[in-house]
Amino acid sequence: MSGRVFVAIAIFALAAAVVFAARPHEATSEERIDQITSELRCPVCQGLSVKDSTSETARQMRELVAQRVREGKTDTEIQAEFRAAYGDWIFLSPPLTSWSALVWLVPVAVLGAGLILVAGRLRRVDLPASPEPTASQVAALRERVIREEATEG
């Protein structure tokens, strides 16, 4: 009995620790800067984020983001400032609210269309169910069985 109580307490403590660790907390300025710059594309690099790039342009962009965070701008306002200058291209992941959403939607639509096409084909090649034997066929078969039994007997 005490063993079960001990296990229950341990599970409860573990669950409480997980909930405590995963609780929503307000991001610090540094976390916000890291988050925003990790989503921005470095304009002079090949597929690198502003956070990961060591270029002068990326450094200037990080400084601008840090200044805007200090000024109390929201993440959306900071992202809008970069969008106004560079368009949606500046984001490493194209947003779903513009034409670039087609990048996400077209593959899904093509996959769906392909599945429908394949399902249609498979249904068409299914063999038709074998028809029920007619009464005359059953009678003929019965006669044949009786004949064969008589021959063997």
Partner: protein, 180 residues
């Protein structure tokens, strides 16, 4: 059966759409990239002149056609395009067209030495912290922006620019300004 037919039509329409999109994309000049700043008010700036003669504010050029050229001494295509810029500057000297050079990511002394060496007569300013370049969505020098008399960025050219492209863009904006 109807579904399969619909899917087949959708595939054909999709392929046609792709072909049309690619055909339109390949027809466009790769130097004329329509990023966020085009067709929007030109971001305001006030920057120190490279020759130390004070500050230059874009707002002071309101009502004129302004050509903003981002350059740097370490940028070889900038050296390549400079003769075209000099000829166009001489052509429109004293007119309603103003050229402004914005020095990109280098010290003012280096920028000023380049300006003197290359015979640049138009006002040049230093963008020390890169804020102006970022507000215009500059990828790297050389880049040229055409601002109309209404203060709207009418176009941008990425990479070295030639004289006909400069003159065409300027004349289009002058015609717009005179018809207003």
């Amino acid at each position: 059966m109807i579904l399969a037919r619909a899917v087949r039509i959708a595939v054909v329409v999709g392929i046609l759409g792709l072909v049309v999109t690619l055909a339109l994309a390949f027809r466009r000049d790769p130097h004329d990239i329509r990023t966020g700043s085009v067709n929007k008010p030109a971001p305001a700036f006030t920057l120190e002149r490279l020759d130390g003669s004070g500050r230059l504010a874009l707002a002071d050029l309101s009502g004129k056609v302004v050509v903003v050229n981002f350059f740097a001494s370490w940028c070889l295509p900038c050296i390549q395009e400079n003769p075209a810029l000099v000829r166009v500057f001489e052509r429109y000297r004293g007119s309603d067209v103003i050229m402004v050079g914005v020095d990109f990511q280098e010290s003012r002394d280096t920028g000023l030495a380049y300006v003197r060496r290359m015979g640049i007569g138009w006002p040049t300013v230093g963008d020390d912290d890169g804020r102006v370049a970022l507000s215009y969505g500059v990828f790297g020098p050389p880049e040229t922006f055409f601002i109309g008399a209404d203060g709207i960025i009418a176009g941008r050219h990425i990479g070295p620019i030639d004289e006909p492209t400069l003159v065409n863009a300027i004349e289009k904006l002058r015609a717009q300004a005179s018809s207003r």
